[in-house]
Amino acid sequence: MSRHRGPVLVDTNVIIECWRVSAWKALTSGYAVETVEMCEIETQTGLQRRTREQQIDRKMLRDTLKAVHSVSDAQRAGALLKDEQLRFLDAGELMLWSHAITRPDDWVLCGPDKASLRVGIRLGFRERLVSLERLLSDVGHRPTIELRQAHTQKWLEHTLTQLALLEKKGP
């Protein structure tokens, strides 16, 4: 597949996974990777919600990201009123979507949590949801450490089908 040329929005899970499999450099060299402040905060030690944490250097993160966006209360309120399912996301994921839906450009979003993916479908952005595996593969990088299942392309495709069916069925 051809490499996406526009902005790539990533969440906390993706940054941590990139660090775990040593793929951050490949990702940020190949794409204009952006995130929001809350996701950046959540990648720091003590906030990763993992038993074995990655040592993610904040300065290096900042230096390699194309942009780290702040999200205002007004943006967050607008998003929450647009789709109530956003209330069930983690703070970083909520901020990332609150930012994403205000952008007019051709961003894609990489965030593997099913709740985040389901929000993407609900908001009409299914085609903009991408897997970390696909992003890496499109820039010719294959991690030597196996990606967790939720970051693979096959899992994403299967999950989007499952979630779209659930959305069709209604609440």
């Binding site: 899970n13 929450l80 099913k114 709740a115 299942q149």
Partner: protein, 369 residues
């Protein structure tokens, strides 16, 4: 989120901060108080600008109005505790309220509705201790709790009465709690307490749930026996009879001829079997007139402590929460109704620990994030 939820929370804050509807309408920039009134009753949706204005006016976080896992003026708790200071308990109540609210919100989304009806016990604060004990006996019999009621009570409460029973790592000093929401009853049990204490607390809290309207329990009750109110004593009598019904005690034969070490040994062995404390068994036998009060009072407390064990072995801890609770969380995560990281915060566990929790309850883990 429903307009009603935001409206209820705006109203709760307005009342807490002492604003009239007119005052607040003016601060929001509304022409009249009817607009605010319509927001508070959920008849009118707030706009994003109004929500941000509410944040500024009340000085709270935006989440206060939108968080589905927050109990605002809806949950009433009754804590069984000893020696706790107010702040620590208040903080823990907020945390506990969050995971209770999570269940309350997510369960209907996956097709598990709250029970339609609530059971109650026909007792009042005027009822005698014998009445309460008789109710405990009948509960054990009618719900077929078996020869060791302590081992079947939690499942029966969840299955037959729709009461959620959660094992928690509470802060020091809390042994348990009953919580009543408009549509759900919950009992919290500190899983680090001894089995005897845990089971007694569970039966005691069950009494509160079943008599909440007639005898609303105190927000905080002290487990120290000297300070017990009449309602607490009724709850104790109910719990004692439920866990040690006369029929279950029959198999231990006659106690009247026993004294000294022989009595102590029998008490400790029977209490172990019934999964209660030896001391609770002792007083239950006195109530049933199977043991003389003066003989019971003469037993040294240290002979019954830890059911007679000088170095009690640590039992494996019960898994946190309950299978019912974890099944709802797992399915909600799998269907993308709640984010894994959000659940991780709610339950106070790392994402990797969630996988262990699902396994402990033999619930399929949703996916590996």
């Amino acid at each position: 989120m429903t307009a009603a939820t935001i409206g209820i929370r705006i109203r709760a804050l307005r009342e807490k901060q002492g604003f009239s509807q007119e005052d607040l309408a003016q601060r929001f920039g509304f022409k009249d108080r009817q607009t605010l009134s319509a927001i508070e009753t959920g008849d009118r949706r707030v706009t994003a600008e109004e929500l941000v204005r509410a944040v500024e006016v009340f000085g709270v976080q935006l989440d206060y109005f939108t968080d589905p896992f927050l109990l605002v003026g809806e949950g009433r708790f009754s804590w069984r505790q000893s020696g706790l200071v107010g702040r620590a308990l208040a903080d823990y109540e907020v945390d506990a309220g969050r995971f209770i609210a999570a269940f309350r919100t997510l369960a209907p989304q996956i097709g598990r509705d709250a029970p339609l009806l609530r059971r109650t016990l026909a007792l009042t604060s005027q009822s005698s201790f014998d009445n309460a004990a008789a109710a405990g006996e009948r509960f054990a019999l009618e719900f077929k709790l078996g020869e060791i009621p302590a081992t079947t009570l939690a499942d029966t409460m969840e299955r037959e009465l729709g009461i959620l029973v959660l094992m928690v790592d509470a802060i020091n000093g809390i042994s348990g709690a009953a919580c009543r929401l408009p549509e759900l009853d919950v009992v919290l049990i500190n899983r680090r307490e001894s089995p005897g204490r845990r089971h007694f607390d569970l039966a005691h809290e069950l009494f509160h749930i079943l008599t909440w309207d007639a005898m609303p329990p105190e927000h905080v009750e002290d487990v120290a026996p000297k300070r017990r109110t009449r309602v607490e004593q009724l709850a104790d009598n109910f719990a004692s009879a439920l866990l040690m019904p006369a029929s279950a005690l029959d198999r231990y034969g006659d106690w009247s001829g026993l004294k000294g070490d022989g009595l102590i040994k029998r008490l400790n062995a029977a209490a172990d079997e019934l999964r209660v404390s030896s001391s609770a068994l002792r007083w239950r036998l006195v109530d049933l007139k199977r043991l003389d009060r003066s003989t019971a009072a003469a037993i040294r407390e240290d002979k019954l402590r830890n059911n007679g064990r000088t170095n009690p072995e640590k039992e494996p801890l019960s898994p946190l929460f309950s299978k019912t609770f974890i099944s709802v969380i797992a399915r909600a995560v799998d269907e993308g109704r709640v984010a894994v990281r959000r659940v991780s915060y709610l339950l106070g566990l790392a994402i990797d620990e969630l996988a262990d929790l699902f396994k402990a309850h033999r619930v399929d883990a949703p996916y590996d994030l």
